[in-house]
């Protein structure tokens, strides 16, 4: 019954559509002209989006932002071994934890000046800001995951003859995997949200650049297209990781939460 399924799905969008319609109405008939430039109607945003699509520009922005995110993620994945080591060895955790705790609440955008000193301008600096967003959720989730590995699983492995290294590779890593993946999912989300700050300096492309750039000349329609693209791609990324990891680790309860 694909039609019924489709109807069910579209029923979910009723409120969204009502809101879009009233926004269109307000923007056309209620707001005065200067206000409407600041909040163009959905049709105006769609037109802006269409322009960007037609010129192919938006794809370049999406691609560049995604590749920054991806490379930042590659660097940030050192959080996984670090987290495992911190979760396994109390004395390392004890030393590294205070540093992590102080650095973690500092917003990525505040790192811009220092990051320029360290990395200069360009992709690496942009990636560093995204990296900061991705790194901490992965680290904290990995530490947590390792600490929360069911102790009986470790005991079971040990009384089947596994030594410490075997316990880590054969049990800790696998048992912690679902929560590590959750960390990756959250981290990629936070990193994706750091995009606008990341592409503030030295970028000539990317969705964050699109927004920053449109701000200087007040192309609110482009700003909104940029915002929605970030929102939608962020959502898709999240879903993608969720669904694939559920497929790959059907035994995990953590992922269904």
């Amino acid at each position: 019954m694909p039609i019924i399924n489709f109807l069910k799905q579209s029923r979910r969008l009723v409120l969204l559509i009502i809101l879009l319609a009233s926004w269109e109405y307000a923007s056309r008939f209620i707001l005065d002209k200067t206000e409407a430039t600041l909040l163009p109607p959905p049709s105006g945003v769609a037109k802006g989006g269409f322009e960007l699509l037609q010129s192919g520009e938006i794809w370049k922005h999406v691609f560049d932002s995604l590749s920054r995110e991806f490379i930042a993620f590659c660097y940030a994945s050192v959080a996984i071994p670090l987290g495992i080591v911190m979760g396994c060895f109390k004395w390392i955790n004890e030393q590294v934890d205070p540093i992590v705790e102080i650095l973690r609440p500092i917003p990525p955008i505040a790192w811009i000046p220092l990051s320029i000193l360290w990395f200069g301008v360009g992709n690496v600096q942009n990636q560093f800001i995204i990296f900061l967003g991705i790194f901490f959720p992965i680290l904290l989730n990995t530490i947590d995951a390792v600490k929360n590995v069911e102790p009986n699983l470790i005991r079971a492995a040990r009384c089947l003859g596994a030594q410490s290294w075997g316990v880590i590779t054969r049990v800790v890593l696998r048992a912690a995997l679902p929560q590590i993946v959750t960390g990756v999912r959250i981290g990629l989300g936070v990193g994706w949200m750091a995009l606008v700050a990341a592409e503030l300096v030295g970028a000539n492309s990317g969705l964050g650049f699109l927004i920053n750039d449109a701000r200087t000349v007040l192309r609110t329609d482009y700003i909104l297209v940029g915002m929605l693209s970030i929102g939608l791609i962020g959502l898709c990324l999240d879903r993608l990781i969720r669904v694939t990891s559920q497929k790959l680790m059907p035994w995990s309860r953590a992922l269904n939460g």
Binding site: E150, N152, L153, R155, C159, L160, G161, V171, R174
Partner: protein, 258 residues
Amino acid sequence: MLALKVEHVRKIYPSMHSKGQEVLAIEDVSMNVNKNEFCSILGHSGCGKTTLLNLIAGFEVPSAGRIECAGKEVKGPGADRSMVFQDYALFPWLTVFDNIAFGLKIKGISSSEINQIVMRFAALVGLSQFTTHYPHQLSGGMRQRVSIARALVVDPTVLLMDEPFAALDAQNRALMQAEMIRILNEESKTVVLVTHSIEEAINLSDVIVVMTRRPGKVKEIIRVPEPRKMVEDTPAYLAIRRQIRDLIAGEHDDSEVR
């Protein structure tokens, strides 16, 4: 021949909270288990049964005393003392086959040999048809069978079991006890079982150790007259059951609030 020797073992746990005080869990426990003997440990909740088992397994270190397995002092966990847990502790990311094969892979045995051994033990516990299933696809009783096969496959000197059937319902529990007897008839093994069920202990054991309340000490060691052959509801059965029940009930209750 002695498979397991526990000599004057004491275990003190450090306090769990910074302000709490130390816990003397067991005190001066001595017991011997012969090769291929089945030994059950009975006692009130919190009397230190799990503590004793963990000491034998090597997960904990005794505060005093000494434990020997097949003549060698226990220094830590090892495949000569494999354990079956109440919550099964199966690796959820491995199939039944790979769970059973776990100990063999660590030993570095060739995969054709692993295949052969695993299939033999899967057949022993009646799971030949389910080797490609994952634990979450099995019922509680089947999971416990996997857990038993996994522990047996490494051919341990002593098999340790901590309330292995407590999570099963009464019917499945009776079934698993019968299975256990069948398995032990095929594969002779030294077993130490912790349980709360007096019937289970009588049905399975050669020897039953009854412990006092905390700090756990050995209150009495009882030999079952006809191990694994006693018929329920016969006078002999009822007599031994009453004896144990009285021993346990004789321990007065001093700590209800946890």
